[in-house]
């Protein structure tokens, strides 16, 4: 009960929104009533609207995310294993991290057109950096005692990576994943807003161009919901995967 009560600021804001819209302080083209938006959203969803664009966006986000994960984790762990690689990659990552990678979208479009590939690759490009950093950080700080114990028990170098480094790095890696997920979604939506080619982002800009404010709000709510649902699912997955780990098992 206390948890529901603690959401009062949201209820308050929704109420203010409703009142402001209904009393005509602002024309409906700027601020449609909250109730109207929610009701219309349900109608649209029941009619099967938005599902295609949602799936398109999610597909792009996850494809890019998966590519980034594979490349990023491999690179990060390799950097922890081989000093020369670390020395070579670090300047590249230092320059790449703060660089606004969205600026490269037109280049990707030039190379791959406006359909899926350019957007998937942008997502991958954006998400690879947090993965590399998380994987490197985790792999390079495996407690020395664990490595030595494994060595004493005749573990090969490859075995070391898969049996010791990877499991020990898992908690930090999953934290990196949690950071990368919203980045993937944002990049997918943003790329669609800029370059079209379907997806929720494309629908959003389309609605804006035709002054369909209600649709704009509906899509914003959907994006919010998608982000929230995925994050919640991820947290449940993390708790399950890491039930052996002392610190994460008990907290958020």
């Amino acid at each position: 009960m206390a948890r529901v009560v603690s959401l009062y600021p949201l209820v308050l804001l929704a109420a203010v929104w409703e009142v402001v819209a209904r009393t005509g302080l602002t024309p409906p083209i700027f601020l449609p009533a909250f109730s109207h938006v929610v009701a219309d959203l349900f109608t649209q969803l029941l009619a099967g609207q938005f599902f295609d664009p949602m799936l398109v966006s999610l597909y792009r986000a996850f494809a890019g995310f998966a590519i980034a994960m594979v490349i990023g984790v491999t690179t990060g762990i390799a950097m922890a294993q081989f000093t020369w690689l670390n020395r070579f990659m670090t300047p590249i990552i230092s320059t790449g991290f703060p660089a606004p990678k969205i600026a490269l979208l037109p280049i990707f479009i030039l190379w791959f057109g406006i359909d899926h590939m350019s957007k998937i690759l942008l997502v991958a490009f954006v998400c690879v950096f947090p993965f590399i950093v998380a994987a490197y950080g985790a792999a390079s700080t495996v407690p020395r005692a664990q490595i030595w114990a494994a060595q004493a028990m005749a573990t090969t170098r490859a075995g070391m990576i898969f049996r010791v480094v990877l499991p020990a790095s898992l908690p930090s890696l999953l934290s990196g994943v949690r950071v990368a997920i919203p980045q993937a979604l944002v990049s997918a939506f943003t790329a669609e807003m800029i370059a079209g080619g379907g997806g929720l982002g494309g629908e959003l800009v389309y609605a804006q161009r035709f002054f369909e404010t209600t649709t704009v709000f509906e899509i914003l709510i959907l994006m919010l919901a998608i982000g929230y649902v995925i994050d919640t699912l991820f947290l449940k997955l993390r708790i399950h995967t890491l039930r052996w780990h002392e610190q994460t098992a008990s907290k958020d």
Binding site: F88, I92, P98, P100, P106, T190, M193, L204
Partner: protein, 262 residues
């Protein structure tokens, strides 16, 4: 000072330049060997020449300036709101109770998605862009400030009080300095966002800015200038981030937990 510590910065610079040079070299080879078509990927040399030419034109420089100004302005506004709010949230249960659900809900909303809404409300232009940047920077700085102030060890606050520091003094002399490492990390994260959102806004709909320019060059098939413009903004953003990291490191030279976050 041993020889090792004296040459260490030099080695760092050399390896930095070396890595990037190797990448540029690889780029050059890939095009020359015909692995990638020249129309898709111009030679680094051509891009460099174009960049220098463009930097000589006033309109290009103005566009570049506009993007940087919008980013920095949005960052400044976002930080000015986020730091006091984050600190207050850490210190007052009631303030926290009011804002926490709002923060949790808006966290998952991509701030770039608000750009079309802002275009509907404020039209195309600086207000929309700066507002979008401001909102995207507000959240990370807020969260980091909150955690920074909340995590100040209570023995520091208690010592301050035992030594005659009043509540205002506790906030400005103890809590904020102690939270500074966290706050600066938040600002650095926000710095990254500020450029992305500013450029995204310009690409979606704007009358000027480097984002718009890149997009236009792409649309009109002017690929070499497009690559040049992308290079320009990447260099500018990376440089500003580097400078910020340096200033942070100096301001936090007393801290043994802060490290250059990469």
């Amino acid at each position: 000072m041993s020889t090792a510590s004296r040459t260490a910065p030099l080695v760092a610079i050399l390896s930095y330049v070396g890595s990037l040079a190797a990448c540029v070299l690889a780029w050059d080879l890939v095009v020359r060997l015909g692995l990638v078509d020249r129309s898709l990927l111009p030679l680094p040399g051509d891009v460099a020449v174009e960049l220098v030419t463009l930097m000589g034109t006033a309109s290009f420089r103005t566009d570049l300036e506009q993007t940087v100004i919008r980013s920095m302005l949005g960052l400044l506004l976002g930080t000015s709101i986020a730091v006091p709010l984050g600190a207050t949230m850490a210190l007052s249960r009631h303030v926290r109770g009011f804002f926490e659900p709002i923060v949790k809900v808006t966290y998952t909303l991509p701030k770039t998605s608000l750009i079309p809404l802002f275009i509907l409300w404020f039209g195309i232009g600086t207000v929309t862009n700066v507002l979008a940047v401001m909102l995207s920077t507000l959240l990370p700085v807020l969260v980091y400030t909150y955690h920074g102030v909340e995590g100040v060890p209570r023995v520091l606050v208690w010592s301050g009080r035992a030594m005659g520091t009043g509540p205002v003094g506790i906030l400005f002399r103890i809590q904020l300095p102690a939270a500074l490492p966290a706050i600066l990390i938040g600002v650095r994260v926000a710095l990254g966002f500020s450029f992305v959102v500013a450029i995204a806004a310009e690409m979606i709909a704007s009358s000027y800015g480097i984002g718009k320019l890149i997009f236009m060059y792409g649309e009109n098939g002017a690929y070499v200038p497009m690559f040049a413009a992308v290079t320009a903004i990447v260099i500018v953003a990376a440089t500003i981030d580097f400078l910020f990291a340096r200033v942070s490191a100096y301001a936090l030279r007393w801290s043994d937990t802060y490290s250059a976050q990469r």
